[in-house]
Symmetry: C2
Subunit: 163 residues, 2 copies
Amino acid sequence: MTHEGGEPWDRDAWDIDPDSVVLTLQALAPHSTGLIMREAFYGTRRFDDFLRRTGMSPGVLSARLRDLVAQELLVKVPYKEPGTRERAEYRLTEKGRDLVPTMVAMIGWADRWLTGERKPTMSLRHSGCGAPVEAVLKCGHGHEIHAAREIVASPGPGATRLS
Amino acid sequence: MTHEGGEPWDRDAWDIDPDSVVLTLQALAPHSTGLIMREAFYGTRRFDDFLRRTGMSPGVLSARLRDLVAQELLVKVPYKEPGTRERAEYRLTEKGRDLVPTMVAMIGWADRWLTGERKPTMSLRHSGCGAPVEAVLKCGHGHEIHAAREIVASPGPGATRLS
DNA sequence: CAGTATCCGGTGCGATACTG
DNA sequence: CAGTATCGCACCGGATACTG
């Protein structure tokens, strides 16, 4: 993953913003947003569960949930259990669930580099076979990619050429 | 990717922090850090190139590069071209390069959901075969995973049981 | 070229109190 | 239960000026 080593394009001749890496990072920022999404992936749906499990203040949680709903990563769904009053829950949308590969890749990286003494706090396994889940890279022809240098980056159709 | 639907553990009985998702997000936060890493992946190495291509101020860039070196995502390497004075460049470490699957997953997500009218600004291809690169999920037994519900999350060895 | 120093404005967030 | 309102602080980041 580099543009050096003989690629035929000049980095400074292209404006590549908004870059997709940054867009995704922004979707999960600020920090509290990522925390909420983590909880959502692990199954949390109700306001007070998010509150207790993330430890953030109600004002912050409220604001971030609003952002996430606006981004359509979560949907607010009213529901009513028989005999109780109506409540609200926040569910992952398809767009939100599609962040799973990103989350799994992040978990893999942190588990490889950041745990040190400590072991991973969460374990992801394939339902049925029980083997650990990981994110891997492959290309459209089905080749698995194991090194960054097997990837060539170049300006995409949305990049604008400068001057 | 859920703990609901009959899994035999109680989310509130476990402290799963520091969670790997959050750890990785923290490694790439604040925002300027992610921007720098993006540039690094696209091949940028020198201070003034980062400066111009990211548009941030020298103070901010300096602080973030320091963080990234401290985190060992980048290394500062002095080098000398014949006839010029010594300069410094920042290179990705193995730990930094290992974020590639995460980056690719993020790029895929943003390209699927965020582009709207606009097309992706960067294109990643397999060197040699030229096919587009993507992040996919698979398990240790080699099964490809296509739906979030094929993944079961449970507390890992590093989680602490409460009370 | 590769930074450091300073100022200053915005915002993210924790704590706390209150409401339907 | 599911939020909203307010306050004060810390940090992030833009602009600008300066240095080896």
